[in-house]
Symmetry: C2
Subunit: 215 residues, 2 copies
DNA sequence: ACCTGAACACCGTTCAAGT
DNA sequence: ACCTGAACACCGTTCAAGT
């Protein structure tokens, strides 16, 4: 029974199924699996999308929408930095294997632009130099992306025999906090370092060259 | 002429060719291409490696070796942090599309363990708490990995029409430094922020809870 | 021990045929 | 307009056959 009166497929349904599939299998989906999940033959998909690459693009677009945070332009800049890093990391952390899709995303940042505009506004008002704004925003990105990839690493990073010969390292591991997963607490720690560094930069009168830089 | 007196293939030759291929094509290699580059039929490869997955594992191992830095245990901790972040990012930056391989690497950190031991030693001697060492080391990782992925983003991130409506953002872009590529200067900036944050943490007497954390 | 050619299942994609 | 089945080129992998 080809061509039912009401279409079985839609772009949204395809993207939904692809994301669900990616979540279940851990990052890969085949057109065959995608078709099966939608109870359709593979060739039917091509009536709605140009190919697998377009499905990936659509997923990417969906993720960028998820990452757009509502930033209150009157909030404290520390809160804004912390919350935007958090929102971005959480969106990636929910599907860490898709981080790679985002990293290679060309320009696609239209959806996120309004939140970025707000971040830039808040930072600017807080007293940061125009010349630093892009770097600060990118630094937040870097930490969010790096932290979500870090999430793919196993909880125990070092084999036992390595630790036997590494006094400082094994001491570090023995004393590491256990209330949160390693990747989670490291993310919070890194963001706090970032904010603390920014505070110091503001306090130092916003120097053109970063004080710690030339060493 | 099958079976020449001297073998045409070796594991090292296969890994070398696979890396070269990955560099040229931008991250993907097929067994067919790999065989062709080695002037051999695809099936020959299976006399030396179990399959494509093992080649990927071998590449990963090679990269971890490259990332192991010689750390002078007597150096200043700031220098150590900066140099180890740099070494790790550069190794990834040379082949950014392989960063994903590293991110998912299970445990493989034997090769890097001695440099990490040295970093932990230096940080510990500088006065950082045992409970913070793993988080500091992971924060360095996060920035290095995030920065190398950032390298895959295009130089111009925001489409023109977006900028028209974003006053602060477009002002940020106009004033952004142009002496270095965006990804490069953002990496240096982020590492400097990290170090600056760590300095402040030391100066504050190494508080158990990070000062900036609860907000 | 190691290279080869033929074969397999699977992949993404195309397209004429149906309604 | 939209689903289908048959077909294509390509992929990773296996294996008996060669030396």
């Amino acid at each position: 029974m080809p061509r039912p009166s009401t279409p079985k497929l839609s772009i949204d349904a395809i993207v939904d199924a692809a994301i669900t599939l990616a979540e279940q299998t851990g990052g890969l989906f085949t057109m065959a699996d995608l078709a099966a999940a939608l109870e359709v033959r593979p060739s039917s998909l091509y009536n709605h999308v140009a190919g697998r690459a377009e499905v990936v693009d659509l997923i990417r677009h969906r993720m960028h929408e998820e990452m757009a945070v509502r930033i209150d332009p009157r909030a404290d800049w520390r809160t804004v930095v912390r919350e935007s890093a958090r929102a971005q990391r959480d969106a990636l952390a929910r599907r860490p294997w898709l981080t790679m899709l985002l990293a290679t995303s060309p320009a696609e940042l239209g959806a996120a632009a309004s939140s970025i505009e707000n971040i830039a506004f808040v930072l600017s008002r807080a007293g940061f130099r125009d010349a630093d704004l892009l770097q600060i925003i990118t630094a937040i990105d870097i930490v969010a992306i790096g932290a979500s990839l870090d999430l793919l690493s196993p909880e125990r990073l070092y084999p036992r025999d390595v630790l036997a010969e590494s006094a400082s390292l094994s001491r570090a591991l023995r004393h590491a906090p256990r209330d949160l997963p390693r990747a989670e607490s490291a993310f919070v720690f890194a963001v706090d370092l970032l904010i603390s560094g920014l505070e110091q930069r503001l306090a130092a009168g916003n120097p053109p060259a970063f004080p710690a830089s030339p060493a």
